[in-house]
Amino acid sequence: MAKKWKEQVTVISQECITEGIYSMWIQTENIALEAVPGQFVSMYTGDGSKLLPRPISICEIDKEKKSLRLVYRVTGEKTGTKQFSQAAAGDCIEVLGPLGNGFPLEEGKGKKAFLIGGGIGVPPILELAKQLDGEKQIIVGYRDTQFLYNEFCQNGTVYVATEDGSAGTRGNVMDAIRANALDAEIIYACGPTPMLRAIKQYAEEKGIVCYISMEERMACGIGACLACVCQSAEKDAHSNVHNKRVCKDGPVFLSTEVEL
């Protein structure tokens, strides 16, 4: 079993990278050493009235400095993410991680791959792009403003889709794939459910292996409470029903494993 830790991490730096989206580097003791792309951490607010973890994907891993980059959206005024966005360098935050399975890197080795991120599903694609050893076509979709674009450019060929057409293809990531007549042997994707649904269908039509990273509300984050299930195509060995735990069995699943 991969090790996990509950740590009091220190904020190294915090930056608002575009409206409402923040990028934070945290100094961990152990978490970064164990982390792989596609895993996430549970962040705790420190406010006694907000007890549940905020699951945030790992955007970048610096093993040497034992630090992690988290890129997250502030979802509202009195939220936990708002609180995180107010943390300054030197402040401490409780973090549990690394959690979940992560993207399988071996499967993609040497292959022509799509790395697809949509909206706030974009961040985990960055560390994946850095670590994946293959022909990387990175397709990122945004509502309007882009973020992390420059970082992606250093790690593959980048295609952008924006809903408002302000950059790249107007539309979603599927529109960008079609507009650029792209193809792939393997797909990795993270983003909103409608996007994942379209990608799953595309992959299955084309017969391509496809890994998708899912989201669900979480309580324990480690597989004990059964809050975060998604429906699985087959009976799951652990649950003995058609449910898989996003926090433990995922968040990354083979598209054929799950129902969307």
Partner: protein
């Protein structure tokens, strides 16, 4: 100093256990805490057959608490006996199996199936909706409480803990009914029924509409009920509801609980159980208590 307690003849090394449904069968949390340090592990509720549970979202945050409508997803008693009991047997802790069902027969089937298993106590979750009584929970009617207790007790090889629902006018009435039916131990409280609405989506936060509220928010209600029940029955009580630190656990003990369960707190601090066990020892040292029993119900 001696932290052992006795629940219906079963000796626990300390009064700290887990609350059903928040700790799986211990495997996941064994990465964070040494299960050997716990008085007992109480498993997630298990039924006669696998249950798929409710659609998601199954949980929502509330002020100083949370709401869940997991819907008692469980792998069924067969896989449970095959996998979860052997896992727990590796540890020097007591095993308490939480049992759920939709009918008396379903409860009894699980209880009978567990007769030859190496488990120490059974905890009967009667907050489940009683399908034959139109969905009102078994635990909300004293006749139903007494009847199901009696049926389960008849078939159980292990001592039984009846787990009471707090969604009642008078918890002592339910406690006395369970005692009359033959309960060896009572545990309380289960979750309080709540609801949350997302005003921007204008939709329920939980797919199930309602869910059970747990966590520190409900602690004062839980302490009150433990106190009331301790003064109404003779059987020992396992107290729970919002325990997040040793002081909280001691509050329940002083109110009348012999043991305590930790639920929601595991989610924000996976080390809670062991920290509580340590903290109780410290408290006993600080104030010179020799046994847990000498603290039980001390505040009158």
């Amino acid at each position: 100093m001696n932290t052992t307690i006795n629940l219906a003849g079963v000796e626990l090394k300390n009064p700290v256990m887990t609350a059903s449904g928040t700790f799986g069968s211990g495997a996941e949390y064994s990465e964070f805490v040494d299960l050997n340090r716990l008085g007992a592990v109480v498993t997630k509720g298990v039924a006669n057959v696998p249950w798929p549970g409710n659609p998601t979202p199954r949980i929502a945050e509330t002020h100083s608490g949370m709401m869940n409508a997991i819907g008692l997803q469980n792998p069924g008693i067969d896989l449970f006996c095959e996998r979860d009991i052997p896992f727990l047997k590796q540890y020097d802790t007591k095993i308490i199996v939480n049992v759920c069902g939709k009918t008396t027969e379903e409860y009894c089937e699980v209880v009978e199936r567990l007769a030859d298993e190496d488990v120490d106590l059974l905890e009967i979750n009667i907050s489940c909706p009683n399908v034959k009584a139109g969905g009102i929970a078994f635990g909300q009617n004293p006749q139903a409480v007494e009847a199901i207790t009696r049926e389960v007790k008849k078939r159980a090889k292990q001592p039984i803990i009846m787990k009471l629902s707090p969604n009642v006018t008078d918890i002592t009435e339910m406690a006395r009914a369970a005692e009359a039916g033959g309960a060896d131990v009572l545990s309380l409280i289960n979750t309080l029924t709540g609801m949350k609405i997302d005003v921007h989506k204008r939709a329920f936060a939980l797919a199930n509409k309602t869910g059970g509220v747990s966590g520190p928010a409900i602690k004062p209600i839980a302490v009150r009920m433990v106190y009331q029940v301790a003064n109404a029955v003779k059987v020992p009580i396992i107290g729970m509801g919002g325990i997040a630190c040793a002081e909280d656990a001691i509050e329940f003990i002083l109110a009348g609980a012999t043991a305590v369960s930790i639920g929601t707190a595991n989610f924000f601090n996976p080390m809670t159980t062991v920290e509580v066990a340590d903290g109780i020892e410290q408290y006993m040292k600080q104030y010179g208590f020799e046994t847990i029993d000498s603290m039980v119900g001390l505040v009158k």
